[in-house]
């Protein structure tokens, strides 16, 4: 995995919840299953298995309500875990994926930061899978903008 490069996807969102609760939303099986989605999907409780620690993992299956044959298996192998603050690892997505999405693995990093008034800032970082990024995995996103501009010039 390209673990030292800059993430190609960076999202920031502030939630109206204390940090410990927001962290639980990602690390408690019952809580994650209640909102993770995608919309219309269910996460069968008996296929959720969490072992949240450095070197541990989170596993679950997303089952499409519209087409139960579409079953996506997610395994998040955790390399860095700081209780209430950080989840970082490689997410393996396999199984029967919807509409042409190929199985992939991608590094994902979730940081939980305190904000004023008991709110929490979530920082999501995600890296392009190797097969999409290789051989030049840097700054694709900005490059598209540049390329568009160059083509339009």
């Amino acid at each position: 995995m390209t673990t030292t490069t800059t993430p190609q996807l960076a999202l920031t969102r502030i939630f109206d919840a204390p940090r410990t609760l927001l962290y639980q939303e990602f690390t408690d099986p019952d809580l994650l299953a209640a909102w993770w989605g995608p919309i219309g999907n269910s996460l069968p409780r008996d296929e959720i298995e969490f072992d949240v620690r450095p070197g541990g993992h989170q596993r679950w299956t997303e089952v499409s309500a519209a087409d139960p044959r579409i079953r996506v298996h997610v395994r998040f192998d955790l390399t860095q875990v700081v209780d209430g603050e950080l989840l970082d690892g490689t997410m393996h997505v396999t199984g029967q994926l919807p509409e042409g999405f190929e199985p992939f693995e991608t590094r994902v990093r979730l940081e939980f930061h305190d904000e004023a008034d008991g709110r929490t800032r979530l920082e999501v970082r995600q890296w392009l899978p190797e097969h999409l990024a290789s051989p030049s995995d840097q700054g694709w996103r900005e490059a598209f903008t540049k390329l568009d501009a160059a083509l339009a010039a």
Partner: protein, 126 residues
């Protein structure tokens, strides 16, 4: 709203930071071409064009194939498009998740504190 990632853009920006190479990319957007065809609009030598093509190739912006004695260059739109599609798709998934998480937090907040899950402080410790 999502922020733009900042990154080390050496390879791609380096490749696109040159007016001649951008011209070559523009030309290739219309279809593949030989070195001679690519050189036509520019007042530079064929070896110079070849060097520019090497830079673009190294940045994975183009690929080159050999047909007989002519090497033809073409843009690599699939690489670019598939990476772009994948990223925008992932971004959309996250934004949707954030919306559902907001709603779930609101549902939790409207419930009795007693129905909140216990804090599992010892969870996952070795």
């Amino acid at each position: 709203m999502p922020e733009r990632p900042s990154g080390d853009l050496d390879l791609l920006f380096g490749a696109l930071a040159d007016a001649t190479r951008r011209g070559i990319v523009e030309r290739l957007a219309l279809g593949e071409a030989t070195v001679t065809e690519l050189a036509a609009p520019f007042s530079i030598s064929l070896p110079a064009i070849s060097r520019h093509l090497k830079v673009l190739e190294r940045a994975s912006l183009i690929t080159r194939s050999r047909h007989g004695r002519w090497r033809r260059a073409r843009l690599s739109p699939t690489t670019i498009a598939s990476a772009a599609t994948w990223l925008s798709r992932c971004e959309r998934l996250w934004v949707e998740r954030f919306g559902r998480l907001d709603e779930h937090l609101a549902r939790l907040a409207s419930q009795e504190p007693a129905s909140l899950p216990e804090t599992k402080t010892k969870r996952g410790k070795r």
